[in-house]
């Protein structure tokens, strides 16, 4: 009714489209039809009031014994945030005439999340590539001995690579959902991007389960080796030897890896897992407002995880010589073990300094 009128008027006046809902609501107040019954009810409430008084008399909108006055500001405020209406159409929230949270979700998602998320990933990519161009690959300083030390068991590699593989596919789907419209549609066109998403969306929704299970196993599997050790203080003090290319002794995982493990894998990984599972089973949340929050948490968590993952993937592939080999074959050269994880090497090989 009134919002229809408001919108009809807004468009016929040629108002700009932005903040449409707010504008429509503002117009509502101006255009709303008053109910004569409610008028009488209000007259009974405040018969001798001054002209300004009706506004205060209207302050109790929905909870009164009579239906509210329909052109009252508080009434429409209530309409916008409650589901007090009834309808014969079955389904969640069908009695809600207007849900306002969608507007906030839209502007957060299309605004800061898209912009800052995109800039964050771009900045990390540029940083990593710039660093590589500047410092090059971190190579072994002594020749390889040819003796191999087992770094990851077959089980560990399967778990890690399941997490890694599913993560990459999940990230691709997520990135395409958020940025595809802006970056790929102008290049590839609507049909192709829609086709890719039609495949990636179900893949994303089902593969998420695989990711969650493998992630939980990985967290349990490596938590102990990622606990704080005294050697980590030295690693922090020397910035991991990243800049001066020195060897900082560390246990099985250095502090950089531990940071990624706790912040990236554990905290952010569990965040996207829980929010993702809730989105997979929308009946749990039911209300749109909750789904919107889950969606934002999922998106922001995933963007931060990708941000950190770019660093991890760089170090694990082209950044450090022998790192990819360790995850591929499960073992590393003795020299690699000594130069990168000296304390761990001494522990597993039984050799002292």
């Amino acid at each position: 009714m009134n919002m229809h009128a408001a919108k009809a008027q807004a468009s016929s006046r040629g108002l700009p489209g932005g903040a449409l809902v707010n504008k429509a609501v503002a117009c509502l107040i101006a255009l709303t039809v008053s109910a004569s019954v409610a008028s009488v009810a209000l007259a009974a409430d405040a018969p001798a009031a001054a002209p300004a008084a009706p506004a205060t008399a209207l302050a109790t909108p929905m909870a009164t014994a009579t239906a509210p006055a329909h052109n009252a500001t508080p009434f429409w405020r209530e309409v916008r945030k409650t589901d007090q209406g009834i309808t014969t159409i079955k389904g969640a929230e069908t009695g809600t005439l207007v849900q306002m949270e969608g507007n906030a979700w839209r502007h957060l998602r299309n605004g800061p999340v898209t912009l800052w998320g995109g800039l964050l990933l771009l900045a990390m990519t540029v940083t990593v590539l710039g660093f590589h161009a500047w410092k090059g690959q971190l190579r072994l300083s002594s020749p390889a001995t040819g003796k191999r030390v087992t770094r990851f068991t077959a089980g560990e590699r399967v778990v890690h690579n399941t997490v890694a593989g599913s993560f990459v596919l999940l990230a691709l789907g997520g990135l395409l959902l958020l940025f595809g419209k802006h970056l790929l549609v102008p290049v590839l066109g609507h049909t192709l991007v829609a086709f890719m998403l039609q495949i990636l969306k179900p893949v994303h929704n089902f593969l998420g389960l695989v990711f969650v299970v493998a992630l939980l196993i990985m967290i349990v599997m490596w938590a102990k080796d990622n606990l704080w050790a005294a050697a980590d203080a030295e690693w922090i003090g020397r910035a991991g030897g990243l800049l001066d290319r020195s060897h900082v002794p560390s246990w099985r995982f250095n502090f950089g890896e531990k940071t990624w493990f706790w912040f990236g894998v554990t905290i952010l990984g569990l965040t996207v897992s829980v929010s993702g599972l809730l989105l997979d089973f929308p009946a749990i949340l039911e209300l749109r407002a909750k789904l919107q929050i889950a969606n934002l948490v999922h998106g922001i968590g995933a963007l931060l995880m990708m941000f950190l993952a770019l660093g991890h993937i760089y170090m694990g592939t082209i950044g450090v010589e022998g790192a990819l080999e360790a995850m591929k074959t499960g073992d590393v050269d003795e020299t690699w073990a000594r130069e990168h994880h000296e304390l761990w090497y001494q522990q597993v090989s039984g050799k002292g300094k």
Binding site: L31, S39, A41, H70, G85
Partner: protein, 208 residues
Amino acid sequence: MARMKFLCDSDRCIECNGCVTACKNEHETPWGISRRRVVTLGDGLPGEKSVSVACMHCSDAPCMAVCPTDCFYRTDEGVVLHDKDQCIGCGYCFYACPFGAPQFPQTGNFGMRGKMDKCTFCAGGPEKDGSAEEKKKYGNNRLAEGKLPLCAEMCSTKALLAGDADVISEIFRERALHRGKGGELWGWKQAYGKDGAPVAKAVKEEKK
């Protein structure tokens, strides 16, 4: 060019759900999908009001803004339509829409919602006007036949108006004028009148 709009006069809507039924029948929408619904506010209380609501064909449509595949488009007449071939069923339009217009044929887990369906203002979809594919996916294209949406055409009390915004807002304005209320801000006169019968008085004044 006309700018198409819906307008529901809640002083006339009697919650008969004729518009809902007309829409479902005209477009043979799938089981569980109702492109239009009537919401009653303050049900059973004096002054209860009913509003028929569907897609409002917004000027700055939130569904269009959040769609990851950008499958929405606006016709020259301001009708917001979408391409089901490009819909991935992510549900984002449903999150964003203030009116709950986007509907999904399935409620399965893992986002298995199927293709979104919503009111087309009886204007079909991107397929050829009046084609079999268009009818199958979006229902009848009455606008292409020079007809207005069936929900409004069928409305027994003419509460639901559909058509050019200028025309229907003029109709509504005239109604408000005759009633002596509506279309203006709340004020002392509208609330109480001088003799306690504001409507009768306004009508009397109008006749003079």
